[in-house]
């Protein structure tokens, strides 16, 4: 089996806030991430698919196609957006890196199913902080 990964970068803003908590508890748990004016990151998305190389093309999948799917499903919806205020799946879900990875999986998996088996989605919030989702329930 071969794992193939395509990287893409986007910039977005967010904040962490649980409406069910007091302001004091939000500040205590989330620290500066609870600043309601939000803050931003240069995110790096890594999309990993698994498969065997096609005997004719030698491709697990066509990287250009994967790039186009990422562009359509993720970049057009998330790049230069505010997760909390503009991205529907975060209307009631905190846009942590974990939840962003899960949301990216949900956007990509149906679109890729025809041609690839999605293995993992990794989201780097900074070069030192990242989350990954592998489709596990």
């Amino acid at each position: 089996m071969i794992l193939l990964t395509r990287r893409a970068t986007f910039s977005a803003s967010h904040y962490y806030w649980n409406d069910g908590w007091s302001e004091e508890k939000n500040q205590r748990v989330f620290g500066r991430c609870a600043n309601r004016n939000g803050h931003g990151h240069n995110y790096t998305l890594e999309v990993t698919v698994a498969g065997e190389p096609d005997p004719v093309t030698g491709f697990v999948i066509d990287l250009k196609w994967l790039k186009d799917v990422i562009e359509e499903k993720i970049m057009s919806a998330w790049d230069h957006r505010h997760f909390n205020l503009e991205v529907p799946e975060f209307a009631a879900t905190i846009p942590t890196s974990e939840n962003i990875a899960i949301a990216a999986w949900r956007r990509l998996e149906p679109a890729l199913a025809a041609g690839a088996r999605l293995a993992a989605v990794r989201v780097y919030e900074t070069p030192e902080i990242f989350a990954e989702y592998r489709g596990e329930s």
Partner: protein
Amino acid sequence: MKAYFGRRYIFSASHRLHADSLSPAQNRAAYGKCNNPHGHGHNYVVEVLVRGEVATETGMVVNLVDLDRVVRKQVLDRFDHTNLNHDPLFTAVVPTTENLCRSVYRLLKDHLHPAELEYVRVEETENNFFQCFDDHPAGANAEGQRVS
């Protein structure tokens, strides 16, 4: 929903690769310039990946602040700006980055509850790195006993 959270840390330390059971010539053959008598140093990068349920109320597998505290106490405070050969963990074990990686895994694995440790990756330089997924050698069980 199960997901993974990763964080990269850095510490600087020195080491010398030398096995007491080998002759000087054998040590030089095995370790080359890493066997130079006064050691040398690296900026080690430690990547820690933990797995667990994403808590609905926080959206997190683990709070970054808690993970940072554990790694600082268990690993960074112990190794940063030290000579690894002087650490009790490496009195009878050569401080190769393979062994360092497994040591870091062992130092962290019981301190991440309710999350669990998925792997520890240690980068010795930009060009070589090591990953550990368990705390016992291949061919041994969790108690370190040989299994066939």
